[in-house]
């Protein structure tokens, strides 16, 4: 469960202050499927970064599973990110020198999970995303859709409660995009909270709840299919 209260995020650009997030208040229940839309510079990416604990709000409170996060130090933030949040990026962000298997394994490696525990888990995830044949391939040997599915597997390997997707289909053709969306929606159906930031109205339309942002403010928050 995510609860945002009066979240502000201000940047200093020269002598001008930019309000990327301007008093955002929202509550997202576990298992929701939310799309966040808005023009460039509307603050939707900043919102996603704050939700993912990559960025700290200038003011306001953010409760993740009932726990206040704005007072956590870097170390605690990193641990919370590792255990509770999965990221999917538009540009995949796979490490090119590692194989698909190793990329998926990375969060487990960072968490210090023993090889005999993590290997079956990675294997299982790759199979569930129909990637078992590509495990030994490096990212440059994979198609865009395969790369994003590897990224999904990596996001899911720590079994997080929240999956944050920043333009997950932005670099993909229509067919691959549909596959990727189907994959993350499948995860949502199993109970994960899914937030998708997108420009694409068609992608956004698949969510059950729609948040629209402009100038750092939430201007529309509709529950139910539009």
């Amino acid at each position: 469960m995510i609860e945002l209260r009066e979240i502000c995020r201000r940047f200093q650009m020269g002598d001008q202050e930019v309000r990327a997030l301007d008093s955002v208040t929202a509550r997202i229940e576990s298992g929701e499927y939310v799309s966040i839309m808005g023009p460039s510079g509307s603050g939707k990416s900043t919102l996603l970064n704050v939700l993912g604990l990559l960025d700290r709000p200038t003011s306001g409170t953010y409760l993740l599973d009932g726990r206040e996060t704005t007072s956590l130090n870097d170390e605690e933030l990193a641990h919370t990110r590792a255990r509770k949040i999965g990221f999917i990026f538009q540009s995949f962000h796979l490490i090119p020198r590692l194989t698909a298997f190793e990329n998926v394994e990375l969060p487990l490696v960072l968490a210090g999970v023993e090889p005999q525990v993590r290997r079956p888990r990675v294997q299982e995830l790759l199979e569930s995303l129909s990637l078992e044949g590509r495990a030994r391939h490096r990212p440059n040997e994979l198609s865009g859709g395969q790369r994003q599915r590897v990224a999904i597997a990596r996001a899911m390997v720590m079994q997080p409660a929240v999956l944050l997707a920043d333009e997950p289909t932005g670099n993909l053709d229509h067919v691959s995009g549909a596959e990727v969306l189907a994959a993350i929606e499948g995860l949502n159906a199993k109970g994960i909270t899914l937030l998708v930031v997108t420009h694409d109205a068609e992608v956004a339309g698949r969510a059950r709840r729609h948040i629209r942002m402009r100038d750092g403010k939430v201007v529309e928050d509709i529950n139910g299919h539009a």
Partner: protein, 403 residues
């Protein structure tokens, strides 16, 4: 993160960036190899000289005529007096001192040596039977000077192998007569190749009884007096007693210099240790340069991998983990460089040893330890700054590829 995973990840990163890693390895290898090879050279020179001294025999006290004084002028010189010669009777007096085992007087000169129509110039050494054990000469064949009274002038000679072959080509020299200056001597022994004295090759030497040499060069004075003490402890007592005895014989004038072998050895040891340290210092500069190179290359690597750092942070990597990843990579490269440098340095030693077998090259242990420790330390020190820079990157900016 498990330690093995940390090393594995860092190793992957180092292996994939091949050019970068090779450059780093090369710099580190050259640095460590330079330290090893140069200190080996200094150490080899030190041991070579020490070996030369060792060949003089142990428990050795050397008496040199004349007083080497550094503080002011000796009173004798002011009075227009020259130091008295060291003579055979001085040698006999010293021989009676307690703690003295052997005394070998030394007269050195050069004279034409001939046999039949063949003639050459050679260094001639006048001494006694005791020279053999004192000096550590080894005989190839025949016998050495006969023992007996120092003042006995027997016409026998022990000659070096080269001289024997030049004067008696294809024949055995023993028992034959040679002419040294205007005197005839019978060859009784041939010197072996053992016992090289600094600046003098036993193969090119002619040794005759000391009285014969004095007569030959028409001089009563000795070049040196070599004394062998009974034990190492006796050496210092013998030194003091010798100075006293000779002073008494020279009308209370202390006009000789008496040195113990180990004092001489210690002086050379200090000189060559200083030389080795200097060489190590010079070579260390290349290690420092390698360290700076590590820092530069790692900084470039950090900026090239900004996106990766951002991703690691998004995946929940802590600052400590990211620091550890970059630092481990720098350390792995410097350790590999140190090992490669060690091998190259030892290889250079081996090759030089093949070309100049007389110079035994092997690095001093402290240099090996120092080179490797410094190499790894520079990996840590110069790797730390880039690693910390990576760890401090803002994850949002890093993911966007900005720094």
């Amino acid at each position: 993160m498990r330690f093995r995973d940390l090393v594995q990840l860092s190793l992957d990163s180092a292996l994939r960036a091949r050019m970068r890693s090779i450059m780093l390895l090369l710099a580190m290898t050259i640095g460590v190899a330079a330290v090893i090879a140069l200190t080996s050279l200094g150490e080899g020179a030190r041991r070579y000289v020490a070996g030369e001294f060792q060949s003089l025999g142990t428990r050795l006290v050397v008496v040199i005529p004349g007083r080497s004084e550094t503080g002011g002028v000796a009173p004798g010189l002011l009075a227009g007096e020259t130091p008295r010669d060291l003579t055979l009777s001085d040698a006999l007096a010293v021989q009676r001192l307690p703690g003295v085992e052997r005394v070998a007087p030394l007269v050195i000169g050069s004279a034409p040596i001939s046999a039949g129509a063949l003639e050459r110039e050679a260094p001639v050494m006048g001494s006694s039977a005791d020279l053999l054990p004192v000096h550590g000469f080894r005989l190839a064949r025949g016998q050495f000077l006969p023992p007996g009274e120092l003042s006995r002038d027997t016409a026998v000679a022990v000659i070096g192998d080269n001289i024997a072959r030049e004067l008696f080509p294809g024949r055995d020299a023993i028992g034959r007569n040679i002419r040294i200056g205007d005197r005839r001597f019978r060859v009784i022994g041939i010197l072996g190749d053992q016992g090289r004295m600094i600046g003098m090759d036993s193969q090119e030497l002619v040794i005759i009884p000391v009285s014969a040499a004095q007569a030959l060069f028409n001089s009563e004075s000795l070049f040196r007096l070599l004394i062998q003490a009974r034990t190492r402890d006796d050496m210092y007592r013998v030194r003091a007693a010798t100075i006293e005895a000779i002073k008494l014989r020279h009308q209370g004038e202390e006009d000789v210099t008496v040195i113990t072998q180990d004092a001489l050895l210690a002086t050379f040891d200090r000189i060559f240790t200083a030389l080795t340290l200097t060489l190590a210092g010079i070579a260390s500069i290349s290690l420092a340069v390698a360290g700076v190179l590590i820092m530069n290359v790692m900084l470039v690597s950090v900026s090239q991998r900004t996106g990766e750092v951002g991703l690691l942070k998004a995946l929940g990597a802590t600052r400590l983990q990211i620091t550890a990843l970059f630092l481990t990579e720098a350390i792995l490269l410097s350790v590999a460089g140190a090992v490669a440098g060690l091998l190259v340095g030892l290889g250079v030693d081996w090759i030089v040893g093949k070309i100049y077998p007389a110079l035994p090259l092997s690095p001093p242990v402290w240099a090996v330890v120092l080179a490797i420790v410094v190499a790894i330390l520079s990996g840590v020190v110069f790797g730390l700054m880039p690693a910390r820079r990576a760890a401090r990157l803002d994850p949002v900016a890093a993911l966007a590829g900005r720094r």
